[in-house]
Symmetry: C2
């Protein structure tokens, strides 16, 4: 018959004929229990399939060994890859990860943050949907936070991000070297530092060559295929279409590609396409997609490292100064970009 409830240390202690404290000491490898007693206790533990109650332990120690990860959109492979990094690094250090998808809704994000606080996670990794909303809760005596992918405006906080400015600067320079002068940029929401920095990077490269990004060539999308498709159509059918399109997110690039096929515009001979974020299909899609690849997995692991450092070993809220870790991206040149067509 199935037991209603698991065994406790009390049960183990009784079976082993020792005190509860001794069991506890064995479970936690304190190394202060004699070898023969240790063996007896371990046998009892094994026999009962005892496993300590993390809740009770957390109540006592103030540590839950759980980390919270809140992402804007788990549908985006970028965040999945980051999640992998986070999880691997977390379990490496004996932590579990509570994953929350805020689905691009700022209210849901706040609800998740509250829930994580209630669960008393030891730390939070946050790719914010709405950095303004989040900042308000920041001051409270909550778990330390590390931001990923995005720096909440002006705030001095721990974060791990790509060098977005640099990456875009280099990407656009590459396009310019191919001879492109009319470059369109499709960005994400401009409330995000991520988008802002990327656009700035593009601007810098363009300005250095005495070019500009025309007003009508800077578009804002929502990071889904559809929006790329829509914007692609509009861009390509305009009176003076760009010769290169730079998408700041790879799913939008898929939309562009679809628009191109539909309109029978050859790529890259007529229009080049380049995209932020690599993907496993980038190589396979036709034409294969030139991308700027972020070290996404490493972003996850680095964020956990930083977080764990700021959690510290004991319950003391060690006040280290906030760190911003900048990761380098790499340009992966493939088939979708080429020299500008002589028209």
């Amino acid at each position: 018959m199935a037991k209603q409830t698991s065994y406790t240390m009390r049960d183990v202690a009784r079976l082993a004929g020792v005190s509860i404290s001794t069991v506890s000491a064995v479970v936690n490898n304190k190394g202060i229990v004699g070898p023969e007693l240790t063996a007896v206790v371990q046998k009892a533990i094994a026999a009962m399939h005892f496993s300590p109650h993390a809740g009770a332990r957390g109540l006592r120690t103030g540590r839950t060994h759980m980390l919270g990860l809140v992402v804007q959109d788990i549908t985006n492979p970028f965040f999945v890859e980051a999640l992998r990094g986070v999880e691997d690094q977390a379990i490496e250090h004996g932590y579990e990860v509570l994953v929350c998808n805020s689905n691009d809704q700022s209210d849901l994000e706040l609800r998740h943050l509250d829930a994580l606080h209630t669960k008393r996670v030891d730390g939070i990794l946050l790719a914010p949907t709405d950095s303004y909303a989040v900042r308000e809760t920041l001051g409270r005596d909550r778990a330390p936070i590390v931001f990923i992918d995005c720096i909440p405006m002006k705030a001095k906080v721990n974060c791990v991000v790509t060098d977005n400015f640099d990456a875009c600067y280099n990407g656009v320079r590459y396009l310019i070297e191919l001879g492109h002068q009319r470059i369109a940029v499709i960005c994400g929401r401009l409330t995000h530092s991520t988008s802002i920095d990327r656009v700035e990077g593009c601007r810098k490269a363009v300005q250095e060559s005495n070019l500009v990004i025309r007003e009508e060539h800077l578009r804002q999308g929502d990071s889904h295929i559809e929006s790329g498709y829509r914007i692609g159509h509009s861009l390509l059918q305009s009176s003076d279409p760009p010769t290169a399109i730079f998408t700041l997110n790879n799913r939008m690039a898929l939309g562009i590609l679809r628009a191109l096929t539909e309109l029978k515009i050859p790529c890259p001979s007529r229009v080049s396409v380049m995209s932020f974020d690599d993907a496993d299909w980038a190589e396979v899609v036709s034409p294969s997609l030139t991308t700027i690849a972020q070290p996404t997995y490493e972003m996850g692991t680095a964020a956990v490292d930083l977080l764990l450092r700021s959690i510290g070993p004991g319950p003391e809220q060690s006040e280290l100064k906030p760190q911003q870790i900048l990761l380098k991206s790499t340009l992966r040149i493939r088939g979708s970009t080429g020299p500008v067509s002589k028209s």
Copy 2:
């Protein structure tokens, strides 16, 4: 100065000038506290940003309001989509989800399962890597489990799966109707009920038309692009290549597509390609990919519903009989499949 630790009900009680039990009653909306006192307490709660300590609560009530989700491979968009369903449905019912990626390693899977038990999650959703290994721990007095995507061999358990047999039967029938006679099938690991059922479905359709799947046309892959690519190469360069390739996983289809482009074999005019699992890129890739789409998100929500039902309202392990929920898939015909070439 930041507090070391959050406020407790004791603090709230003191501030509101009431007893702890009263605070508890208010927090839990027991509806037994007078209106004016309720207001006072709520004010105190708000003022202190009090949030109850879930660990302590769980210790007392035996419920943690956490669900564990263990998947083989979070890299696979299929599981991400299921995860979305799980999460949405979970928070809908006031649960959080602890996500674990077992990375196709059975030992890691068991470690996750142990960790979840230690955390005393109220229930577990499991897409098993190794259903044999898992079954051993099953009997113990642990949280109820619902399997997703895969039925652990012969065991009578709760699960939510696609009607894999049926889906493949229909898919292959469609290929046969197009005139294909030499159909290759690339399956996943045959220790999985999923793979087995799918292959059986293919076999049935083929046999009904007095055809066979040749030995050398039934290959086993590992669900990653590379393996599709490798197998594709080998299949296409064999002396008597198939006219249609059916991949039981969509990333392998990407590999096939790459092999086709590389070998300059036109699709679908020379070889048709069909794949299990839909993807957002399926429409965009060229040729667009014919797929069998599983209702993945619904698989997640249905699994949570089933799990929550078997958790029941109280701590009593309600012994409902195990249910197997079968979901229907749909065939999405696109550009990668066509009539067999007259050779």
